[in-house]
Symmetry: D2
Subunit: 344 residues, 4 copies
């Protein structure tokens, strides 16, 4: 049994980590921090977990502790104030913020703020891409929610030399639940503004685009620069992201649906949490679970349409963090995460 802690236990991702660990057979929650709720019972803040956490109380992040691994579930620029100290004390870290996803210089450009504590050793924690490196890492940068669903839906293409070369344009049109906007009320999360509405935002400039581009470029088997575009939309649901990937490829290189299906099946052959389907996947099949369902593979002239779904709080955040932590702590990646999506 490994001992773990959560920095930032009141946000949605921190709370979701606590939920997942509350029934985890190999990870034990030793503490969770909250400045605003310090000293209060965690279960008073998370009544769904009442009777699972006893009287465990939120502590201050300044309180002393010794654990095997810490999840940092705090906003960007905050994580970097904790991470180096934890690493120095021999504590492994899964960072759910954006602080270690990009090279420091790129981070400063995209987030328009200085990076005060770069670490070159951070491993990008898209588990299906970096399984072995994650297992040996001290610091894992957990991917953003949009990049997780988007990248999983194109990795088999990018990692194939021929296909990567023939790809001309990848356009991710994503539809996300509002929980991605966090637990703090705002005009954007106000029920009358979300219900009955669809809200496109950061139409051409979402920060996750930089992450998608960097990873696509770093891991692509082609040295061609692929044109990647991304537009996210808020839809009136709480959990889940459905990404419609419109991939345009060199017309002479077009594939059949069954070829693409086989390509994906093979690529994710040993990935427990990616399920390849011939038909269109649904959000409900993955809600509450760590799965990503990927399917459709329809073709219109030189356009290939791929649909992927994830629970943004699980595979898109807390679940993938626990999956990474499992590997870092020497467990099988699926431990504590094996449950299907809630349906209906």
């Amino acid at each position: 049994m490994a001992e773990v802690g959560v920095i930032g236990g009141t946000g949605y991702t921190g709370s979701e980590i606590i939920r997942l660990i509350s029934t985890h057979p190999n990870q034990e929650l030793v503490f969770a921090t909250s400045r605003s709720k310090e000293g209060e019972r965690i279960a008073d803040h998370l009544p769904n977990l009442e009777t699972f956490l006893g009287d465990l109380k939120f502590i201050s992040p300044e309180d002393s502790f010794d654990v095997d691994l810490v999840y940092t579930a705090v906003p960007h620029t905050k994580a970097m104030t904790y991470v180096p100290d934890f690493l120095d004390r021999g504590i492994k870290v899964v960072d759910l913020s954006a602080d270690y996803r990009l090279p420091a210089q790129k981070f400063e450009e995209v987030y328009d703020t200085p990076h005060i504590a770069p670490r070159n050793t951070a491993v990008y924690g898209l588990t299906e891409l970096n399984r072995e490196k994650v297992a040996e890492a001290d610091l894992v940068a957990n991917p953003g929610c949009f990049p997780t669903g988007a990248l999983l839906s194109v990795l088999p293409f990018l990692k194939n030399k021929d296909f990567a070369r023939s790809t001309e344009l990848i356009l991710f049109d994503s539809k996300t639940g509002i929980s991605g906007a966090g637990a703090s009320p705002s005009k954007v999360t106000h029920f009358p503004n979300v219900n009955g509405e669809v809200t496109p935002y950061s139409l051409s400039s979402h920060r996750h685009l930089a992450e998608m581009k960097m990873i696509s470029s770093a891991y692509s088997k082609s040295n061609k620069d692929i044109n990647i575009e991304f537009t996210p939309h808020i839809v009136p649901i709480v959990r889940g992201i459905l990404t419609t990937t419109h991939m345009f490829i060199d017309e002479d290189s077009i594939l059949s649906k069954s070829d693409i299906f086989e390509l994906y099946k093979n690529y994710y052959n040993s990935s427990r949490f990616v399920r390849i389907k011939e038909d269109v996947p649904s959000i409900k099949s993955v809600v509450g679970s760590n799965f990503s369902d990927i399917g459709a593979f329809e073709i219109s002239k030189n356009r290939i349409i791929i649909i992927s779904t994830i629970d943004n709080l699980v595979k898109g955040a807390a679940g993938q963090a626990v999956q990474n932590a499992n590997l870092m702590l020497g467990f099988k990646e699926e431990v504590g995460l094996l449950s299907g999506g809630m349906y209906p």
Copy 2:
């Protein structure tokens, strides 16, 4: 054409008044106030009304104006700071706050704050109850949203001497859309807290209960003190209140469904905005409209079940305000309000 203004144009009720007046044949919007948006185009705040309001801008409530009637759509305790001055200047007022609904002493008790400007002449603006008095009033206190739907569903009983006498207990169990909580984001209106949830609140002590009790008592044809209970619940919809009235009466005085139906039909015979139905009314039939649909009239031993629906922002607030203003300005009460509910 009468000239009117709105004090408090950015809240939901103020905005809804503006929407209704923007196409009103006999009332012209001359101004709307907003401290925070002073000088900004109203249509930039209400894009649904773009092209209807020209470049009309929000003004400060301190700016000078001269109109026939003002709607005060501000929180309680604020309205009383404006109303006496308007009345002194000969401007009629429909007040949508709680400030003039109760006698001053009762107001102070229920709202736990001093009343700085009582007016004994305020008429309680449940139009169907006080049509004639409203027409002659300078100041109308527009009813609360819950009292409107609740009282309309029991008025025919209370105004009948025999039935009022045999009534033992009236329990209003109301289900309301979240727009009743206003336009300002809060934990209560946060989409993930409303969606998938039902939230009972003020279970035994909602302020509107005092209003219901006072009106029931003042207008009942019996001098018996009727036991009135009220519990509201937020359901994940934007507009609408459905009130389930559980009325318990002296078992010997129980009526048949058809008798009750006739009683209601007759009572509301000349009320354009109350529609009596034999079956269960729906919220969708009234959303966007000034109607209240009332029906069901099922009987279980000594319990009579009556269901009423309103759009909380229209008949429960802005629509009834315009209906009252129509009368105060010498027009027919339905002018500018005749459209059916949105369905589906």
Copy 3:
């Protein structure tokens, strides 16, 4: 490891049993039946469980099998055609239909249809009420969803001689998610008819009322006939029931909130799945879980308001069925059911 099967695997309750058993450590799903989907992979019908069920296919209910226990998740009048045969073959049964909840004569009256196979030995499976009897039963009648949430919220009163005697009227006003209406599309479940709407139905005559009355009467410590009333409402959510219990008691016997809280705490002291709270419980705290949260305990004169929440498909159906099956098979009741609700 006990071997179990599901009769009726495509309805919501049958599907939910399969979901719960797919990760159960002590119950193994050996088969599930479906006439319409016979021969098809279960996971093609339940894509959320893809990779959990291998290639297990739906069989016909006429196919032969031998298991320790069968869940009958079929409509009323269908279950009674299977149950006697299973019992004769030594197979234990948890019946999720209404067929064995009421005495045969009462069943025939309420459901207006003959009972072709009465069994006097059926135990009413409200686990918290009948834990010991369930453990020894061959046939358990799993309670209806509304009775589960309603009865749990008043049991501590009914089982106390003094309090039961002072209770005059219990009115359950319930708000349910639409999944209670089943997996088959109908006018009632049509999205535009549910969204933005609240739909009261069976206002005074829902069949679950007979179940509530019978159990209240059978288990009450008072021989006084308690007046029980019930009105259900559909609200636009998928899972969950919130029941507002308005309990009216003899005014001289009124209790304090803290006394009631203690009464409930003590009564449910050893019940893992009932959590007593001082404040108002939420649906989100129990969605996806087998918990019932009960709280509020507000008092208005002689009215006590109690709020209870359950997931209608879990504690209100499949979860309680698995809980009962655990006991019947010799396991602890909570095995395989220990996860908190999904939040947010």
Copy 4:
């Protein structure tokens, strides 16, 4: 006052026409047909319009009538069985089905069924495109809901020779409310299948794509064949379509946001129902109204992102039909349609 009738009064578009005409100053509803509801009061089927329609009853489409104009709101292949007869009798027709949108041969190919009654004189009723021709037409083919929102968002480009020539690819990624699927319950409209879900469908082959291509090609000022792609998604709302137009143009011809804004402002200068905005338009601003809001105009390299919104039942169907009928009957196009969207 013109007299009009509706063939097919129980579907959502037929019902919406009735709603709009019930308060129209210049069009009077003389009849509406329904085979299944023949002889029943229309208001019993449309309780939102109770008191607006008196006791008008549904008639059979075979019943005789004489009116100035008929709206045919029936499924495709049904309209063509009525239209020629009406035209022969001198009755003008606005057809809301797909029967007269495409040339007969194209119709037969796309809808895979013979066209039994082609009329070459049908005018494509995208009012903003064909205002003058509509005014003189006997038969107007009302556009599909998706083509309406999509085409309005690119018309200013297509009608400009230079811009049309530089356009390489137009991808419409649309998000629609479920009312587009009609009033009949099905698996697709089942609340638990829509709520919490996003459902892409007809990913590359929706029939409306042929309509978009034909109109784009017919009206484009360039003889270049523009590559048009379209993927629709169902989102959990009742009314509204938001279309995200991803337009890719020759990189050397890229425009500034303000240039595009001016282009659109000028093009729609005299179109009362198209509102051009600099920021992202919302569905709520147009729900219940005949407006289409178009805006955003963000640029990412050679991609221009345009967002358009409509109410699919109003501007996308019944509202545009009434708008066209106004012109055909000699009235101003906006008569009876001037109300802003419902907000919130």
